[in-house]
């Protein structure tokens, strides 16, 4: 087992519980032991940078300093927003700003998706797939902060990321091409301006359906919450009848690894994915 630092972030302990659960199972199956950063704090997410620059950096920087000093491991982060904030902080610390946090740059920061899309894990994944998800038509949705801006995320293809598509294809998923994989869902406005969110999310549903998708796969707990929790409201508001289950890519990995706890993670979804999975003979 190789060891890796783990920063779950607040969302993965509450609304994104299924993401946390399936991330832990996936990593264990792929031979990665996750070690949670001791006494980690909230990174400030979408709020701190809008109100105060110092808070935006230092809340995230504290976690990095702990990871490097106490764990001396690289860190993997499932939440796209947390990942982005910790990367911003990492770059600020390397520029020798914010000297109150001791950080020399030995600890690297990865987002979970791109970490697992490295060749060695894809190879291991191929051996782990016990139940092909063949016939499940899906679109991979990356959202904003995993890839943008590339100066922060170091992503080589911010306009057309392909990691999730590659992983889903290994699982046997019929991963469809669409042009909206990095269009924003408006998560940071989900409380203050839900009307804007409804329009953005509806557009994503429409374009996913247009290419023939039966579900949307995400890699971010904020995207997931936004797309899953708001579907009922959007149906009522626009007089539609959308049924699009929203999966985390790790959930589908666990499903394809034939680990029998689908009921457990599926219970967390507002849009129940079980009918779709039953129809496909996957549970």
């Amino acid at each position: 087992m190789e060891q890796l630092g783990y920063y779950p972030g607040c969302t993965l302990e509450t609304t994104g519980r299924e993401f946390d659960m399936t991330t832990r199972i996936t990593c264990q199956q792929l031979g990665i032991e996750l070690v949670e950063i001791p006494d980690w704090n909230c990174c400030g997410a979408s709020s701190a940078h809008e109100l105060n620059n110092y808070l935006a950096i230092s809340l995230a920087a504290r976690n990095l300093a702990i990871a490097e000093q106490k764990l001396a491991l690289d860190v993997v982060i499932p939440c796209a927003a947390c990942f982005n904030r910790l990367k911003v902080a990492q770059k600020a610390l390397l520029n020798k700003a914010y000297s109150e946090f001791v950080f020399e740059g030995r600890t690297k920061v990865y987002d979970l998706l791109r970490f697992l899309a490295q060749p060695r894990y894809k190879k291991r994944l191929k051996h782990q797939v016990g139940k092909s998800l063949k016939g499940l038509k899906a679109v991979a949705y990356y959202g904003c902060l995993l890839t943008r801006p590339p100066e922060v995320t170091d992503h080589p293809h911010p306009e057309n990321p392909t990691e999730m598509d590659e992983i889903l294809k290994i699982l046997g998923v019929d991963c469809l091409f669409w042009s909206y994989k990095t269009d924003c869902c408006g998560a940071s406005l989900t409380v203050g301006r839900v009307d804007v969110v409804h329009q953005l999310v509806k557009k994503l549903y429409d374009h996913a359906l247009e290419v023939g998708a039966e579900c949307i796969v995400t890699a971010c707990p904020l995207c997931h919450a936004n797309l899953d929790l708001r579907q009922k409201e959007i149906n009522e508001k626009f007089n539609k009848n959308y049924y699009l289950p929203i999966f985390y890519f790790t959930e589908l990995m666990v499903l394809a690894m034939d680990i029998n706890d689908t009921e457990v993670w599926a219970r967390g979804h507002l849009v129940d994915p079980i009918p779709l999975l039953k129809e496909k003979g996957l549970c």
Partner: protein
Amino acid sequence: MFTADFLKEVNQHSGEKVQLCFQCFKCSLGCPVSFAMDYLPHQLLRMVQMGLKDRVLHSHTIWVCAACETCTTRCPNHIDIARVIDTLRQMAIKQGKPAEKPIVAFHKAFLNSVRRHGKLNEWELMAEYKLRSTRFLDDLWLIPEMWKRKKLFLRIRGVHKKSEIKKIFKKAKAWNN
């Protein structure tokens, strides 16, 4: 009304050079929330160049920006537009008249909860947001749905070393005025 050193002020706070914008529209064309804006991003930058401080700081645009970083990623002159908008938000709050009060209420409630515990508490966030925004009925239907799915907990999570979080917030100073 024209404010002579507005551009200089924005550049200083953001570390960007807003005068480099030559109005190519790329930011506005890629912006997913442009439909909800009163000025498009390229117009906003032009208004900063022209020193139209009041109009910029009272605009809805700076608050409905979803911070998705598409504009920053695509700007041919490498202006970090999302960062410029963060700066404008902070200036608007200092001035005391943000155009989208509920959005500001959300951010303040979020950070207040983090200040108290070091981690976000969803109940506290919702309660403080409702008090600040007076939108008491927003998303009420979601509470039983999320409770049923074990996505909300009564237990308050927090960090052990609260003093370190307190120190960070003390040093950050003006964010809640």
